[in-house]
Amino acid sequence: MHDSPHSPMPTIEAPSSRRVFRRILVALDDSPPSRAALDMAVRLAADLEAELEGLFIKDQNLLRAAQLPFAEEVRAHSVAPKTLSDRRVQRQLRYQAERAEAALQEATESAEVTYNFQVVEGHVTRELLQAAEEADLLALGKTSTRSSRRRLGTTSQALLSESPSPVLVLRQAVRARPPIFTYYDGSDTARSALDVASGLSLRGGGHPLTVFVPAADEAEAERLQEEVEAACDGHVPHLQVRALTDIEVNRLATLARRAGRGLVVMPGNASPLADTPLQRFLYELDRPLLVVR
């Protein structure tokens, strides 16, 4: 059962519908985190029968910097900085783009996924934000180089904060069938996040879904649990609802990390996420994070 292929509006449909995302955009560069994001995007695309778009962006700032008369490139393994010529940078970027495309082809080799590849030149963050408007999900690496667990790239930070569509950020590859975690506090955004989470857990053989609910007391916990179950409508095979105390809510990232090597779907306005610097939240979580706004 397939819907019409190109629906441009990023609508989240009701859980009974099978299509969680129809168009997944993945930002490609030549880094391990980006590759991890690519692999996960391919798997999601395969499970959810979505289209995959790979996007490589040639950094305009870099190109401009290379055009400056005294531009010099400082490198790790040479003694003196080398003149950075426009041509050389062009060539390097072209090469990177080719590698990105090759990675995309390789990743989609064994999966049944329709994909296309695009190269644009511009301001990285702006281009991505713009592209995100036309996709149902944007996936990218947490940093654009191999980095420490602590670091959060500027691009990723900007997109997580400002993207109109859901954004998936990850640092390392995760295994094939991760358990799904999400946070439901009753808000609309939380509801959207819950729909995404339950949709994901249904696909690809059924992943366990754990929903954390903040509950001051038992009654609150019960109420939220009922709402969750109603939203899932018995479709989710392994559903677990966990009530959290205030303290636990404050330490949600650590808690979610300890709960397992899974994928975490967060509503963007939820207090644990909104009240914590993004970098710290991601550091403590250290798991793939999908933010829904």
Partner: protein, 822 residues
């Protein structure tokens, strides 16, 4: 005239009723050896003397039970001695080409091997487990994180400071570039170009400064990475050490009293820690160890250097820690006694086996195999001389080990310097062994004469005799030996009559009534055959009848030739007279031995004489059919003749002696008396009785000397006479001193008892010639002359005549003859 021997003198009898047992079941059956005192004492001495080079060579004829005796004595001795240690070979981690030898108290080698195998099994799961564990992964992560974070912090700080001054740090595909920035955008090149000179230079200067700083930061990167690597290595070692020590600790306690083992365990530990990278990488790559057979194992080990990515520690890898137990003395009681029945070089010294793999031969210390020397180390080794010497290089290899007092395992090719390819050189093992080589006498004497090492290495000779002195004690021991054989070979018990018969046969085997045969192998075979006949009969015990039957059957199987010989005499193809008398013709007796069966036969010997120059011609010698001893015999009898008869006259005869119808070779001087009688008869012109046969050698004084094979010779003549029908006066003349060699067949003795055959002991030629002619021999009177009617007288007369004739012939130039005849 000499009197014939009484029947009792012709055969020793063992009276069964003289034994104090009924059957061999009544005997203890504990005797393994009878007599051989000299050899036994030598062996005892050799076994016990604690000095170098006192190995034993047990020499003697085959069939005298040397090896069994040697082994029996050694085992008795060894049982009281300490058990030697176990021997293992283990890997030499410093130089794998030279495996180390490890000695442990007996029984503990097996233990160690099993313990090490268990240790390896444990390590095979524990080590990868450690490096796959969360704890390790996170600690390793942390180290890498720390380093990365440090670098990032420096970069970020630099980036921040630059930004405050309006300079952006942008990443390029291969590094970084600094560029002026405004409102988050890089300043376009046109704007930069249109900047006032001073301002532009200032910007440029700032950028250069930042570049330098960045360069500094980047320069430190490799250092930090090295630091990270070092810390990870330390972490690896730490984790590995924990696991390994934990597992090895138990073994440390168990073998705390054995320094060599502790050293080995330490080296294993050190090597494991050194190789910890294997396990780390395997864990990183998610591989698991496998169990495989040696060929594949070797293959993988061989491929390890093939430039592939670092291989996982599979079965091949773990081989390096194993213990190759090559000598296991766990079940050995006392010292080992080893009989190596195929003493080629490898079986003695050990070898390093190899596996063929893709056209090359590969090996490791696990393929070292022990030799007999290893097995016997601390004890005794028995080998057969002939086998040892016929295997190439085995004798050399054995001597080398003894000289150097150590066992060095290398192939003969290596030892001879012929092989150039690399192979293992296992650590030599100190050698403490006593060797007993069992061989024939000839081999011993040859080695002694030709090999200078014999004096140094085999100082003890254990000389086995073929005969045993016959005393009552030895007879009893012999009977018990028979009983022991009955038990060992699971035969029917021997009735005492059977035992008696066996003992008699033993005497016959050595042709000596005062010695028992030491050829126990033949005795045992006889017993086995007698047992067979007893079974055939359905009898309960083996009696003298069965023994006799066995003897008869043995003879019958072997005496085809004798039958032919007798037949040819019967059919008068070969002329032998057994009655009447003839001048110059006599029955001599000869002795043949073929394939272990011996028999005698009569031989006609004739002598003819004429006038001549004093030469006695032995036709056999002239025809090159006689051996030197025979020729010597003839020369001796010539000496006698000359001595007695040619003192005053030159010997002027020419005589020819021949063994009629003998076309094969003859040696030995046992017929020299017969030849002499024939000669005397021819000279005296007195006939000799053909119903008698003669044997005996003679010396220059006319004394008859003893000969060999007296029984066979008598029986040979007896058979001819009996075939034709005994006349009652037939017989044989034998040297008197051979009387105690007589063990004639019972039927011969019976004939003598019935007065139908006679054996005459003769001491001198005169005795003999009297018996043969019936005429007195004669002694010189006061004038020095022999009486005319005696043999000697007539011989002398004839010789005198010859001498005169000859003289006349010479003087008259041949004329004398004419007138005389006329």
């Amino acid at each position: 005239m000499t009197d014939p021997l009484p029947p009792e003198a012709l055969r020793q009898r063992f009276d069964p009723s003289g034994f104090d047992f009924e059957t061999t079941d009544d005997l203890p059956a504990e005797t393994e050896v009878v007599g051989q005192d000299r050899a036994v004492e030598a062996l005892d001495f050799g076994m016990n003397i604690d000095a170098e080079g006192y190995n034993v060579f047990a020499l003697g004829p085959t069939g005298t039970g040397r090896r069994e005796l040697v082994q029996h004595l050694l085992e008795e001795q060894a049982a009281t001695e300490d058990t030697p240690p176990d021997l293992c070979y283990v890997n030499n981690f410093d130089d794998e080409r030279e495996p180390r030898a490890l000695e442990l108290p007996a029984g503990r080698g097996c233990e160690l091997k099993e313990d090490v195998d268990a240790l390896i099994e444990d390590l095979q799961t524990a080590l990868p487990g450690t490096f796959e564990s969360e704890e390790y992964q996170s600690r390793r992560e942390m180290i890498q994180e720390e380093v990365r974070e440090g670098q990032e912090a420096a970069l970020e700080d630099l980036q921040e400071r630059a930004r405050e001054e309006g300079i952006a740090l942008i990443r390029t595909p291969q590094g970084f570039v600094f560029t002026p920035i405004r409102d988050g955008e890089v300043v376009p090149p046109e704007e930069v170009e249109s900047m006032p000179e001073e301002k532009r230079e200032k910007v440029q200067q700032k950028i250069e400064n930042y570049q330098e700083e960045l360069q500094e930061i980047l320069r430190k990167v490799p250092e930090h990475q090295r630091e990270a690597r070092r810390r990870i290595e330390e972490l690896n070692e730490e984790m590995a050490t924990l696991v390994i020590d934990d597992l090895v600790e138990d073994l440390h306690e168990k073998y705390a009293d054995l320094d060599a083992v502790l050293e080995f365990l330490d080296s294993v530990r050190a090597d494991l820690i050194e190789n910890v990278d294997f396990f780390v990488q395997a864990a990183q790559q998610g591989q698991t160890p496998q169990q495989q057979g040696p060929a594949q194992m070797m293959q993988q080990q061989g491929q390890q250097g093939g430039g592939q990515q670092a291989p996982a520690p599979d079965g091949a890898f773990w081989r390096r820690y194993r213990v190759n137990l090559i000598v296991d003395n766990e079940d050995t009681e006392g010292a080992p006694v080893v009989y190596e029945d195929n003493p080629n070089y490898q079986n003695l010294v050990g070898q390093v086996e190899q596996i063929a793999q893709m056209g090359a031969l590969v090996t490791d210390f696990n393929l070292i195999r022990k030799g007999a020397l290893h097995e016997a180390n601390g004890g005794y080794l028995v080998v057969d001389a002939r086998q040892l010497l016929t295997h190439p290089y085995a004798w050399e290899g054995l001597k080398r080990a003894l000289r150097n007092e150590e066992i060095q395992i290398e192939s003969p090719g290596q030892a001879l310097g012929l092989i150039r390819t690399l192979t293992l050189e296992p650590e030599a093992v100190p050698l403490d062994v006593k060797i007993v080589v069992v061989g024939e006498r000839l081999v011993y004497y040859l080695l002694n004469a030709l090999d200078p090492d014999m004096d140094r290495l085999f100082k003890v000779m254990a000389d086995f005799d073929d005969q045993i002195d016959r005393t009552e004690a030895q007879e009893d021991a012999y009977a018990d030996l028979i009983a022991t054989t009955v038990e060992h070979r699971d035969l029917k018990p021997f009735h005492r009559s059977g035992v008696a018969r066996v003992l008699e046969h033993s005497l016959r085997m050595v042709s000596d009534t005062e010695k028992l045969s030491a050829q126990v192998a033949d005795i045992r075979d006889l017993m086995t055959e007698a047992d067979h006949w007893a079974q055939d009969d359905g009898a309960d015990t083996v009696t003298d009848e069965h023994v006799q039957r066995a003897i008869d059957a043995q003879i019958y199987r072997a005496d085809r030739l004798r039958e032919r010989v007798q037949e040819s005499i019967e059919r008068e193809k070969v002329y032998i007279d057994t009655d009447g008398e003839t001048i110059g013709q006599i029955n001599g007796l000869s002795y043949l031995e073929m394939g272990g069966f011996s028999f005698g036969k009569p031989n006609r010997i004739t002598a003819r004489v004429r006038l001549g120059k004093g030469e006695i011609v032995d036709i056999e010698r002239e025809a090159a059919l006689s051996g030197p001893i025979h020729s010597k015999g003839v020369l001796i009898l010539s000496g006698f003749l000359e001595g007695r008869f040619a003192q005053r006259y030159p010997l002027s005869l020419s005589a020819r002696l021949v063994f009629e119808q003998s076309y094969g070779g003859i040696d030995g001087d046992s017929a020299s008396s017969a030849e002499l009688y024939a000669l005397l008869s021819a000279l005296a012109e007195v006939p000799l009785k053909q119903n008698l046969a003669v044997t005996g050698s003679v010396n220059q004084r006319g004394v008859v000397q003893p000969i060999g094979g007296v029984n066979e010779k008598i029986e040979g003549f007896f058979d001819v006479c009996e075939e034709r029908g005994l006349t009652g006066d037939q017989g044989v003349l034998i040297p008197a001193t051979n009387t105690d060699n007589l063990m004639l067949r019972p039927d011969v003795v019976a004939a003598v008892e019935a007065g139908e055959f006679h054996i005459y002991p003769v001491e001198t030629v005169d005795d003999g010639i009297e018996a043969l002619t019936g005429v007195e021999a004669g002694t010189r009177d006061e004038q020095g002359a022999f009486p005319d009617d005696t043999i000697n007288g007539r011989v002398e007369a004839r010789l005198h005549e010859f001498a005169d004739r000859r003289r006349q012939f010479a003087l008259t130039d041949g004329q004398v003859e004419q007138s005389e005849e006329a």
